[in-house]
Subunit: 203 residues, 2 copies
DNA sequence: GTCTATAGTTAGATAGAC
DNA sequence: GTCTATCTAACTATAGAC
């Protein structure tokens, strides 16, 4: 569908497309087999290029890993904010449901939990950057809980910071047991968690 | 404190002690740095022996990994059953609290979540064995929930299997954010989860 | 941009002395 | 049982042709 002879006009260069494809397959391979088993050669093979060619796009294997992690939190944030915006007028708790639903979906589809774990094992300099991203991400959920509390929707006596981490953790870990072939949709799991959560903490 | 000249009488051989030490340091290293970064040489160094000597105790690096995973679920099961036994007469929900508390403690102290993740990425033949162990472990918690339900302690309408996985997942993931230097004890986190859980699912 | 070929390094594993 | 020395294989990364 693209015009032939097109050269300087392309918005997205060939290099950018190849780079994106490399990050994509690397992300999948890291999740499926663990960062251990994934060699540069394997990433190259999965992306249908030769191993040496990778180094035109990345300076090192670590750079690939870094790019994989970079995509993670930013992408999740975008999705979650979008989901919240779609129910903009709703109560904080309904927006929280939307946010948690998006978090779960992103986690399941983008191997998010593996990345979150990997971030913590990064060398300090790299880790700090990602941890900052992660705190911003967590703040989205914290803000929704705080708003619900401010509106008097919550029972007193809960540590909302712990509640947030437990709730997000419950869904993050779902990537380890969720079976796409089963009868439950991701939304069903979010609903179950919200039922548990609201009937527990909501007045 | 041991008698000198003792040879054939030792119940625990030198080899067994060395092997146990290797598993211990390997477990710690795998958790702290990720299985990636941990070489046989590094395990040997941490255990204060030379790399070659490892192969007197293990046939391969994979065998070490396997031993590390082997210890995981079995040890957790023992601890959880012990915790339940300590409150033997109590209601199913109080026993559930004890079980979840032991699960969290074991997770925090023995790098359990890393092992659970690693198990899923194992070659099929090894994985099956560990997954069976894991199902037996999960059954402990499932039974307690079922007993609570049978006694009419729970609200209707919950999928207890999902509730169990969410609750256990929330605690399993806590290993990723729990700060031992903070003000919260593991028991506080368990209490917070139980409050959330019971005020939600208990009639 | 991607290929082929290969340099340089390090990993897992073995052999034999002690 | 553990050490030292070493083999082999595999990996990351580079160089130069196209």
């Amino acid at each position: 569908m693209r015009a032939s002879g097109q050269t300087a006009k392309s918005r997205i260069t060939k290099a950018e497309r190849t780079r994106a494809r490399l990050i994509e397959v690397a992300t999948r391979l890291f999740q499926e087999h663990g960062s251990d088993e994934v060699t540069v050669r394997r990433i190259a093979a999965a992306a249908k290029i030769e191993a040496g060619s990778i180094y035109y796009h990345f300076a090192s294997r670590d750079e690939i890993m870094r790019a994989v992690l970079e995509g993670g939190v930013g992408g999740a944030k975008t999705e979650v904010l979008k989901a919240i915006a779609e129910v903009a007028g709703a109560s904080p708790l309904d927006r929280l449901r939307a946010a948690l639903g998006a978090h779960l979906k992103y986690t399941l589809h983008h191997h998010f939990s593996s990345r979150l774990k990997a971030i913590r094992r990064l060398p300090k300099r790299l880790r700090d950057h990602h941890m900052k991203q992660e705190r911003e991400y967590a703040a989205i959920f914290a803000d929704l809980l705080a708003e619900a509390q401010a509106k008097g929707l919550l029972r007193p006596g809960f540590d909302l910071s712990v509640v947030r981490m437990l709730a997000m953790g419950a869904l993050t870990w779902a990537a380890e047991w969720y079976d796409p072939a089963g009868t439950m949709a991701p939304a069903d799991i979010t609903d179950e968690l919200m039922k548990l959560l609201t009937e527990g903490i909501v007045k």
